[in-house]
């Protein structure tokens, strides 16, 4: 009987106190047992038939690897009870549990097996990025080196420690946002930098990423703004008003928060983004198509928390909110921009020119009561009167057509 294994499985069996509740007896043994090899390397293996087995001989033995019979020229008899095998230029293992190298008797019965682990040592993980949700936790993501394909099970461990003191800690909640991620749920310090790195280990070696140093306050994100409401602006067919609430978890800290709005037409996949909505919780979208359903989303960047100078991390987008612009006879303009409430001019070219004109008028023509509000009111009046004219013309047209057809029966 071969001696008990002291490798991984032997340790495992001892640890779980099974004390080998099963019995397995094979009439031969393959050497080496469960070797680990680099891709491209060679292997010399032997299958030795137990001497106490009646009629035991290596005559007629053959090998299979992952179920496929190996060419006989790769084998040779070393002696009456031992068949040797030479494999060269090995490919990476087909499954993580190891390639199955099996020694068969002449009749095809299985005499013994060994599992080959052929692969590569891990390369250095890189591109570590981390973020903290509302300063309460830390989630990190990384990219495995060489795109992770080592053909062997590779274990990734995220480590972290306070930069100037403290012991190494190991993250425990893996795969929270993808296969190479980890979540640290609590006990994080603010105003002091952390060092974070990733260690990759497999049967062929280990590798360590570069260390990322960060302060939790520099990587804060938050929840999307709640209570996003989108509504029409009176009768204006090319505008919608968007209102939202500051994310509650950080509302006492968001002195410099930035917001971003994106919107799209109902049956389109192309979003238009309105950047830099600054620290306000409302915006007016202008230049929209009349009579069209729009989906709108808002997100928040809580930069500047506790004086952080870093850019901050955008939240997820809020759930889409839909609203439609009023219908119009005239085709509306295709562009869009965020029009702030209160009549301050936006960056659109028409309104920029209008602002210049109004400024000139106030200076030279003493029109002190001119404003954008007045301009919007005028536009609404223009659209209403245009609709009325079209309706009248329609009635008149149908009246004339009716007259041309003659009296009704």
């Amino acid at each position: 009987m071969p001696p008990p294994q002291t490798g991984l499985l032997g340790q495992l069996a001892a640890t779980i106190d099974l004390c080998f509740i099963f019995s397995l007896v094979y009439t031969a043994v393959i050497s080496p047992q469960d070797p680990t090899l680099l891709i491209g390397s060679s292997l010399q293996a032997t299958c030795s038939v137990h001497g106490d087995t009646p009629g035991a001989t290596a005559e007629g033995l053959y090998w299979t690897l992952n179920g496929r019979r190996l060419p006989p020229e790769l084998s040779r008899m070393l002696n009456a009870s031992t068949m040797a095998l030479a494999l060269a230029n090995l490919n990476g293992s087909r499954q993580q549990s190891g390639d199955n190298l099996v020694c068969h008797a002449r009749d095809g019965s299985i005499l013994a097996g060994s599992c080959l682990y052929v692969g590569l040592p891990p390369e250095k993980p890189f591109n570590i990025s981390c973020w903290s949700k509302n300063m309460k936790d830390l989630t990190c993501r990384w990219t495995p080196g060489a795109h992770g394909e080592t053909f062997l099970h590779t274990n990734y461990s995220l480590k972290y420690k306070l930069r100037w003191y403290g012991q190494d800690n190991t993250c425990e909640e893996y795969h929270t946002v993808g296969p190479h991620s980890c979540h640290i749920p609590k006990d994080l310090a603010l105003f002091t930098p952390y060092e974070i790195w990733v260690e990759a280990t497999n049967r062929l070696g280990s590798a360590r990423s570069d260390v990322l140093t960060l302060d939790i306050l520099d990587v804060v994100t938050t929840d999307p703004p709640p209570d996003v409401h989108v509504s029409r602006v009176g009768g204006l067919e090319d505008q919608l008003s968007v209102r939202w609430v500051s994310p509650p978890a950080l509302k006492d800290f968001l002195f410099q928060a930035k917001y971003q709005i994106r919107y799209r037409v109902e049956d389109s996949v192309d979003w238009k983004v309105v950047d830099d909505v600054s620290n306000q919780t409302s915006c007016r979208l202008a230049g929209l198509k009349p009579g069209t359903v729009y989906f709108v989303q808002v997100r928040c960047n809580p930069f500047g928390i506790y004086g952080s100078k870093k850019a901050g991390i955008w939240s997820e987008w809020s759930h889409p909110t839909a609203a439609s612009t009023p219908r119009s006879e005239r085709p509306g303009p295709g562009g869009g921009a965020c029009e702030p409430r209160g009549g301050e001019p936006s960056s659109g070219p028409v309104r920029r020119e209008l602002k210049q004109f109004l400024g000139w008028l106030k200076k030279h023509a003493y029109c002190s009561n001119l404003s954008f509000r007045l301009y919007d009111q005028w536009r609404a009046w223009m659209q209403k009167s245009h609709k009325t004219r079209n309706q009248d013309e329609g009635i008149l047209s149908s009246g004339r057509r009716g007259a041309a057809r003659g009296p009704a029966r």
Binding site: Q5, I21, S23, L24, V25, R68, N100
Partner: protein, 199 residues
């Protein structure tokens, strides 16, 4: 005619029929559980062989049917035994399976740590077969044919050589195969006990 006369839901309407009805219901319930576990056992075996690699999943793969401590295949004459005796053997086998399935799960956690569905199925199988075994024991008790006392300690030490990964894979294959054989055997045996089944 009172509202409760002839009511199928009134357990006291016909007290002489209710114990038998209750037992029949339990037999049917246990039979349904065995049928469900047979299906799960087939799925478990398929999932298991996928993760071990060929030749485990190949047709005709036949490693040595080596004995597993505390559990053997149903004997060739099992079907000829009286149904109560068959159920006793079923209950004993079902009681022996959970620690074996646990052992296979722990080995697979090392060999295939990313095979989460396989690991979950093995964990579920241990729990489910324990429930089925308890249900069969309860039926035997209700039939007045209790099993013959507690079996041997299923976690007892039995020296062996767990030599290598390949034998561990074969062991798991064997245990999954035995699990399928015994739950399907239990399903057949309970089917003969269920109302409408052969006497």
């Amino acid at each position: 005619m009172s509202r409760r006369e002839g009511s199928l839901e009134d357990p006291q309407a016909d007290s002489s029929a209710s114990p038998l009805t209750h037992l029949e219901a339990k037999i049917q319930q246990t039979h349904s559980l065995a049928r469900l576990l047979t299906k799960y056992a087939e799925q478990l075996l398929q999932e298991y062989v996928q993760h071990q690699g060929d030749p485990f999943g190949l047709p005709g793969f036949s490693p040595p049917r080596l004995p597993v401590a505390d559990l053997s295949d149903p004997a060739p004459g099992h079907a000829d035994l009286p149904v109560h005796e068959r159920l006793r053997l079923d209950a004993a086998a079902l009681a022996a399976l959970p620690p074996l399935l646990d052992a296979v799960r722990r080995l697979q956690a090392e060999l295939n740590p990313r095979a989460l569905r396989l690991l979950r199925r093995l964990e579920d199988a241990a729990r489910q077969v324990r429930a089925l075994g308890a249900a069969v024991e309860a039926l035997l008790g209700a039939l007045g044919a209790e099993s013959r006392g507690p079996g041997p300690e299923h976690a007892a030490a039995a020296a062996t050589d767990s030599a290598g990964v390949f034998p561990a894979k074969v062991l798991g294959f064997r245990v999954c195969g035995l699990y399928l054989e015994w739950v399907s055997r239990t399903e057949v045996d309970l089917g003969q006990l269920a109302p409408g089944g052969p006497a």
